[in-house]
Symmetry: D2
Subunit: 246 residues, 4 copies
């Protein structure tokens, strides 16, 4: 963790007692998905590019590798690492489920929840947000439209990221194609919840898209393919980070 | 990998070209589930106990930690490591899914599939078995009764493990409570498939249960709580391993 | 439909143009679940008991039979019939899914959504509530705690029914065991949504439970086993209806 | 039921004691899906066309309407009616699930299981096939490739229908595009199971496709859009039926 971040004191005997990381805004979250360009050793390389941009620009960047890559990535970089999902389970007899304690011990400080590619029952979102709160993990719930964003705001996650599913992976930025969705999301969410960080995602491809997102009063973006599949991820991400300062 | 195992040593530049591990029988697979006794550092400690027993007894033991623990465990021990599940996805735009390539790069050489606590659609089992085959990963499909075992045998997994769900976690061993299910499973499976390793699981708690399982012509056991939650996992697992020699 | 109900009588050529039924409160909804006591001919008999109580007491009662029983029940009684669930699909190539148009043509005027025994993704709840609105069907979304109730209120269903899952089928009434959950639900929901009818359910077993529910300012109850599995469903339901007048 | 069919003697006091319908081959099953052309009143009309073709040609035709349309359809025609799916539940506290008893009382004599648009866990397929057997309902399990067909054959359904999902709804007939899949299915299935009726589906659009399917030794077809969405369903279905006699 850079010293820009109020880092969790690593208390190994009592994982749960560590403080929750405090993220600065504007915030750029990079979802590695299951892209081969961001799996295994390449996940570590990509995270290092992100760390470099974060260090150079002092912009807060979070990386979100696959579960099995959390430990190698968190061991290699000093920026926050999130999991892509956790399950609504407590330690015990579950097989193949993702336990909050497990991704935390591997070095994650938060998790995505309800991504459009991993949608959840509302009762499970509620349970998972509570679990992250108990474990001092940061919760970032993804939503698909303004009214669902407002609904989720009642469950008190740390971050809400609106991502219209029809724009994901298209290169058509939500901030340009659906600015009214972002504006409405902020309006509805802020009635309920003044603390949650609000991001937008889907199609965010270049610095300009980030700048527009911030002008619409979001506090950052959730991006994936534009960075992960770029020939030169460092340059694209640097462009994103620089755009937050416009 | 110990030299008891025909290890994938001819690592070409492409991960996928590595040979598939060949497991010896009798075989003991230890599923760590999401037990807190087998999460994070404790997963590594437990795997080391398993490695010690395997080295001392020359009995093949496989450990199955959570996804985020695969890399630390595989880096710490020289016995085969499996994932608890993989998803039927190829590299690409999936979030929160478990990619074959990812668990393989982290050090796993195989995976459980369709565990009673992570049941799958039949088309997905078929897809996942094919994926493991392409990636030279060992596939271990869990089944709940003899006819499902026979059905699964047609999909050509490397290992079939019959586990009557009502006995899982009970301490009442399948090999003692339902010997006829094991006998019938072997009878049906062998008509279709002579190569698959056949294991049994559910309630396997002590060496005696293992010995009975082998007498019934299985080639080993899939165990979990009896080992993971034991005060002294080494002793219990050593008892299991010694029993394979009776 | 009795003339107590503002029935959809202006049936134009298009089914969708029919007006939405307006339900009076207090309201008693009887979920038939898949109980054998409420399947097939017995569903029709039970619905007739409900109709009789409704006629005698002028209390609004809704019956919720299984899909295949909607047409026989709606053909036999003159009280509103709901489906137990609909799927978030439009007419087209889905197999085994429950189409809004289908249950409507069979005679249902509304549907339960997200019952604890049929929990849904939040995006699907949002889609289904929209579908019911388009089709002039009444939407009744079930929720498990106050904050989820408030979240759901943002999606604008016609009815919200809070049902703590741990009390379902126990005979321990939510109105007596968790009055604070009901009070908090109403407090949170009313900040967001002044129109939705708020019910409570789980363990509602006798008139007294209904009376307490109404004193807590709910507008009725969602009940199941206490009525469906009663030796004399008429008497139990009559007791419920009479209790709404205390 | 026509007298070509060994109809279930309707024993109202003991539904389960009725005999299972015996279907003749060649067999044409028409899946109504959730097409608006086959919902509500239109489901009844379409079923009447099917009945007419069946009566005129003496070819066995089964119709598969939505759940809520089973009672109206079964009340209107004298050919066998199937459900599109049932759930692996017994009578009791399930909401929104499809009970075998319910569709049977409504007049269905069988059910599709594991259609490509409603895929199931293997353990659930096994449970549902057992349930249909207990209730004297005909089970028709859909499969996506030859090895899954063989796997399913071990579970002893009455009918297995192979439907490569990539051809569903395309108008490109499986019998022409993938004859080798059909041949291999029959080869594998017949090793395990000599009794099951084997059908093929996906893209079956005209009599010629049916004739080819039968030449490949299937005992009929499972069709949907080509009939349901036809301007003149009677003529298309008559063409199908006539082709079975070539």
């Amino acid at each position: 963790m850079t010293n820009d971040i109020n880092a969790s004191c690593q208390n190994h005997s009592l994982v749960n007692s560590s403080l929750k990381i405090k993220l600065r805004t504007p915030l750029i979250i990079v979802n590695f998905k299951t892209y081969s360009e961001a799996t295994g050793k390449k996940a570590v390389e990509l995270a290092k590019h992100a760390e470099k941009v974060s260090r150079e620009t002092q912009v807060q960047i979070v990386v979100v590798p696959q579960y099995a890559d959390i430990a190698p990535v968190a061991g290699a970089v000093d920026i926050p690492v999130f999991a892509q999902h956790i399950d609504p389970v407590k330690p015990g007899n579950s097989t193949g489920h993702v336990l909050a304690e497990s991704i935390k011990e591997a070095g994650a400080v938060g998790t995505l929840i309800n991504h459009a590619e991993k949608q959840l029952k509302i009762a499970d979102i509620d349970t998972i947000v509570s679990l992250t709160s108990e474990k001092n993990l940061i919760s970032c719930v993804c939503t698909s439209n303004p009214q669902i964003s407002a609904a989720i705001a009642y469950l008190n996650p740390d971050i809400i990221s609106i991502e219209p599913p029809e724009l994901i992976g298209t290169g058509v930025a939500v901030s340009k194609a659906k600015p009214e969705d972002i504006t409405k999301t902020l309006l509805l969410v802020r009635k309920v919840n003044t603390k949650a960080i609000v991001l937008c995602g889907a199609g965010i491809s270049r610095g300009e898209d980030v700048a527009v997102a911030l002008k619409l009063k979001t506090q950052g973006v959730l991006a994936a393919s534009a960075i992960v599949k770029a020939k030169d991820p460092y340059t694209v991400l640097r462009d994103f980070a620089d755009a937050t300062k416009q």
